[in-house]
């Protein structure tokens, strides 16, 4: 697997990530369709995600929380807008409080996922994140930066533990 391309479009406010996997599309689809697999990669290692609800159907809702190193919980939700099973889906992805109420102060991102056959048994995946406003993108970049740093730190910890 690799990320093959990343495109940031400042006028459309989108981030497009292209990746390729050696596994077949039906298998890769389960990374999203099976909540137990989804929660193993959605959050960074130090903020693992737990999916409480998971209805990957049109109009369905997925809710999750990520648990931080201090036991702190961060709640999020997806609203499923379209699904073509095994091929694509689109959700609105936002934040919530502990009771599952939508947090209107934090950004809502549109996430579209498209799977296609690579032709040799592998799968191409395109993930398009769309931000409503530049301010939301900036807020997410700041939050994402923290997450990115935490990923890096988690990896450093693993290296240190091996040494």
């Amino acid at each position: 697997m690799t990320v093959t391309a990343v495109a940031r479009d400042h006028s459309a406010l989108t981030l497009t990530v292209d990746a390729t996997f050696d596994a077949a599309p039906a298998r890769v689809w389960l990374l999203w369709a099976d909540p137990r697999q989804l929660e193993r990669w959605w959050g960074p290692p130090v903020y693992p995600a737990t999916f409480v609800e998971h209805q990957l159907v049109v109009g369905g809702r997925c809710t999750y929380f990520m648990t931080g190193p201090e036991g702190d919980q961060h709640h999020g939700w997806w609203e499923v807008e379209s699904v073509d099973p095994g091929r694509s889906f689109e959700v609105r992805d936002g934040f919530a409080d502990g009771e599952g109420n939508v947090n209107p102060d934090l950004p809502v991102t549109r996430m579209r996922v498209e799977l296609s056959d690579r032709g040799d048994g592998g799968t191409k995946v395109r993930i398009v994140s769309t931000f409503a406003t530049l301010e939301q993108l900036e807020q997410l970049v700041a939050m994402g930066m923290e997450e990115g740093l935490q990923v890096a730190m988690g990896q450093m910890d693993a290296v240190l533990a091996d040494a």
């Binding site: 981030l15 960074p44 970049v141 700041a142 930066m145 990115g148």
Partner: protein, 115 residues
């Protein structure tokens, strides 16, 4: 890592400064060549005071610096700071790069491929 040198306050100031189209345009202008505040003001349909305020916000974020030369106040881009802002933007990619790595690990594990 460069981002380690930025406090949360630094990050907030940079994103606040870049959230405005006029300020982004001012920054683009002075990245090409340094300019006086009054010359900048002629580019925009706003008052000189408004442009001075925009320059002050950019300056607080460390993206530009001002220097008095005679009667003129010259503005120039702090290229290092602009690079840092771009690096911040790239950090958003790190979220998805991390996820893709973990997705790959999940797939490999289910197929019994040792890692």
């Amino acid at each position: 890592m460069v981002v380690d040198e930025l406090s949360a306050g630094d990050v907030d100031r940079i994103f606040h400064a870049l959230a405005d189209a006029t300020r982004r345009d001012i920054l683009r202008q002075v990245m090409i060549t340094e300019s006086s505040v009054s010359a900048l003001a002629r580019h925009y349909p706003v008052s000189l005071t408004a442009v001075q305020k925009h320059v002050a916000v950019l300056e607080e974020a460390g993206l530009v610096s001002k220097e008095r030369r005679g009667r003129e106040l010259r503005v120039r881009a702090e290229i290092t700071a602009v690079r840092r802002a771009m690096q911040l933007l790239e950090q958003y990619e790190a979220v998805w790069r991390g996820r893709v790595d973990r997705m790959s690990a999940v797939l490999d594990e289910h197929e019994g491929v040792p890692r």
